[in-house]
């Protein structure tokens, strides 16, 4: 009877274990997929040089986890482009706007410098960004600097993410690193201390080293004797 009970119990534990592991392994790709799909911002329409039209939108999640990289993808589509003319996207800059701070935080801009010669051509810019620390929410301003053959001077276009919603949320769910392993002290301190340590160590282990020394001496002696006997 008892054996049967324990068998059942162990089976239960094993099945629970299998269930939890499968669930947890499943949750990983789900999380990854969720990040990938994210939220699509509303379409922004821009016009450059009176004859060239293009649209832009951003795909990125609406809640960013602190200290974790987030994928942000910017899609630029040229809708109207007269034949024979072209358009160049010079640079794309991203800056974070924090709710209580007048100064935006600039991220490293990307410079695709891509020349578009046909309509319906798409430019994609993928960025890996991290949420700013010490805030709960923020939004991103994206500046597109472009020129075209009809207006060769650079023009600046601005759009915001998430656009129709005020802010991206910052999730602080993931804990801070709880282990802070200090390295050794810098060499100046360390070699002085280690010298003191070894002096103390040698003094304290003198009895042990004496025994070791005598044992080695004995071994050498007995070896010599053996050698002499063999001869």
């Amino acid at each position: 009877m008892e054996e049967g009970k324990t068998m059942k119990f162990s089976k239960l534990i094993i099945s629970l274990f299998v269930l939890t592991t499968t669930l947890s392994t499943l949750s990983i790709p789900i999380g990854v997929l969720g990040e990938e799909t994210g939220y699509t911002s509303p379409l922004n329409f821009f016009q450059i040089g009176g004859d060239t039209n293009f649209t832009a939108y951003v795909v990125a999640p609406l809640s960013w986890e602190l200290n974790k990289p987030v994928n942000l993808t910017l899609y630029i589509n040229v809708t109207v482009l007269p034949e024979g003319s072209n358009m160049t996207i010079v640079s794309l800059s991203y800056s974070y706007n924090l709710p209580n701070s007048p100064y935006p935080i600039y991220q490293t801009p990307s410079t695709p410098n891509e020349m578009i010669t046909e309509a319906n051509q798409q430019v994609v810019d993928r960025k890996i960004l991290r949420a700013p620390s010490d805030v709960e929410e923020f939004n991103i301003t994206i500046k597109i600097i472009a020129n075209s053959s009809s207006s060769p001077e650079n023009q600046e276009f601005e759009m915001e993410f998430p656009g129709d919603l005020p802010y991206i949320e910052v999730e602080d769910t993931s804990a801070n690193p709880i282990i802070n392993l200090p390295g050794f002290p810098e060499s100046r301190t360390f070699w002085r201390w280690i010298l003191i340590f070894f002096v103390a160590m040698i003094i304290m282990t003198l009895p042990a080293s004496y025994v070791a020394f005598m044992k080695i001496q004995q071994n050498l002696k007995s070896r010599k004797k053996k050698g002499a006997k063999k001869k």
Partner: protein, 530 residues
């Protein structure tokens, strides 16, 4: 035992003294004379001498115990003296330390005395501690010598050897002196980086992003825990080794009315001992490293020391080396805890590194156990070198390579002596058979005296006599004569003569008729009484 040995009482006494001294862990030398002999006992590792002069007198063997070479005890003052000299130098000529520090980065004064030593306190406490250690050791020796002196006559006359209850407090104090210096070395290691000169120390603080006061407080706290646990557990090792060394001899004498369960007794003794040791440490280190210790920390220190000593005793009963393993585990686990604590408070950074090396230190110390076996091979079973930062005398003895009689056989020899005594005692209880023909040859009237004596005895008791019963009967006969006091000296004289007639082979009786008369008188008195 063969018949050749055990002849004169002097020789027997000398042999017993010799065995006993070796049981105390001494190396013995014997000087023999015709009427006296001297047994010189020298402690093997920590030298001091005990002289026992055995003298043969008319009434038996007498003994006198003398202490020699007491001055060795004063060598214990050397480390205190060094510290006093260093503290004086550091106070009056601090420039020496600063100059050395500017070159090497290490101020030796600060390294040894702590970064802010309390000089006046040190000058008061160092001599006091030194004198306590010396005084206690001298007192202990005097007490032990007195014990031997008092108990020896009984031991020589056949009583079983018993040593008095060891003076526990004195014992624990002298045990503490080794450990105090051991802990001092550990303290120097822990606090060393905090005493380095500024151009080293500021960089040290920069790397760990800590303020000086924060790292100081944390280091003090952790060092209190470390020292408490180390000294508690190591005290257990040292004290138990001393107890092993004294062996079963000392334990027998523990008074019955205060006898607790033996294991509980050991724990209590060790707990009291560690309390004394903790006090010494606290008093000394307060003026050196623990300037900013709080009352709560003091309480923690005492409680943890006693708890560690009790745990150490328990571990010792399992196996001695478990204590070292337990210490390593403490250093490792506390390291892990400190790593987690360090996330919010980087002041633990130094102690985390330091603990890693202290584990190595403990491993090194535990290797010293092999020295014990090496000394044992040379016939030395003495724990006075254990945890001694510099066991000078042990090395001197080993390098001298003196041959010593091995102490291990002492128990056996003592047992042999006891057996021998048992044989004689059994003979004393056996029924006595008197050979009248043999006695007749000893002189005229000898047989008559013995016959009267026999009649007197048979009037008092019926049955067989033994030597023991005769001695008690003699004293009873003297009791009967209480009313006729003039007869007492005569009777005593008669008893001596009877003794000699019965047992001394070469005795010649003179004035036989006189003693026959006395015996007759005695018999008549006894008849009237009974």
């Amino acid at each position: 035992m063969s018949e050749k040995e055990t002849t004169s009482p002097l020789e027997r006494g000398t042999r017993k003294m010799d065995v006993l001294m070796r049981a105390f862990g001494m190396r013995t030398r014997i000087f023999k004379g015709s009427s006296r002999s001297i047994v010189k006992g020298t402690r093997k590792i920590y030298p001091y001498e005990l002289n026992a002069t055995v003298i043969e007198t008319a009434r038996g063997v007498g003994i006198r115990i003398q202490l020699e070479k007491l001055w060795y005890t004063f060598l214990k003052f050397i480390p205190f003296l060094l510290l006093i000299i260093i503290s004086l130098l550091s106070y009056f000529v601090p420039s020496i330390g600063d100059n050395i520090a500017s070159v090497t980065g290490v101020n030796p004064f600060k390294l040894v005395l702590g970064s802010e030593p309390g000089f006046i306190g040190l000058w008061i406490i160092l001599p006091i501690l030194g004198l306590i250690f010396i005084g206690v050791e001298i007192l202990e020796r005097i007490i032990r010598a007195r014990y031997i002196q008092d108990r020896m006559p009984r031991f020589l006359s056949g009583a079983e050897w018993e040593i008095a209850e060891p003076p526990i407090v004195l014992d624990t104090v002298s045990t503490s002196s080794n450990l105090l210096w051991f802990m001092y070395v550990v303290m120097i290691l822990i606090f060393a980086p905090l005493s380095f000169s500024d151009w080293v120390y500021t960089k040290f603080l920069e790397v760990y992003k800590v303020e000086s006061s924060a790292i100081f407080n944390t280091t003090t706290l952790i060092s209190i825990l470390d020292i408490a646990i180390l000294s508690g557990m190591m005290f257990a090792i040292l004290y138990m080794n001393y107890e092993k060394f004294r062996g079963s001899l000392d334990r027998k004498q523990f008074r019955y009315d205060v006898r607790v369960e033996s294991q509980v007794r050991q724990m209590i003794q060790i707990a009291t001992g560690t309390t004394i040791l903790a006090t010494f440490e606290l008093v000394l280190f307060y003026f050196m490293f623990w300037n900013n210790i709080t009352v709560i920390q003091v309480i923690i220190f005492y409680v943890l020391t006693v708890a560690a000593s009790v745990l150490g005793t328990w571990l010792f009963w399992q196996k001695e080396n478990y204590i070292f393993i337990a210490l390593s585990i403490w250093f490792f686990l506390s390291d892990v805890v400190m790593i987690f604590l360090n996330a919010n408070d980087p002041s633990y950074s130094w102690m985390i590194i330091c603990h890693l090396f202290l584990i190595l230190f403990i491993v090194g110390i535990s290797l010293n156990r092999y020295f014990e076996g090496y000394l044992a091979k040379k016939g030395m079973y003495e724990p006075s070198w254990i945890f001694n930062p510099f066991p000078f005398f042990a090395f001197v003895i080993l390098l001298k390579k003196k041959k010593v009689r091995i102490t291990k056989s002492v128990d056996k020899e003592l047992e042999e002596i006891r057996d021998e005594e048992m044989v004689t005692r059994v003979r004393e209880r056996e029924p006595l058979t008197i050979d009248i023909d043999k006695i007749k040859k000893k002189g005229k009237g000898a047989d008559k005296i013995i016959q009267y004596y026999q009649k007197i005895l048979s009037r008092i008791v019926t049955g067989e006599f033994s030597i023991l019963s005769i001695t008690t009967l003699n004293s009873q006969i003297l009791e009967f004569l209480r009313e006729k006091k003039e007869l007492v000296p005569q009777t005593k004289e008669l008893f001596i003569v009877i003794d000699k007639l019965l047992w001394e082979d070469n005795y010649k009786l003179q004035n036989g008729s006189k003693y026959v008369k006395i015996a007759e008188q005695m018999y008549e008195i006894v008849i009237k009484m009974r």
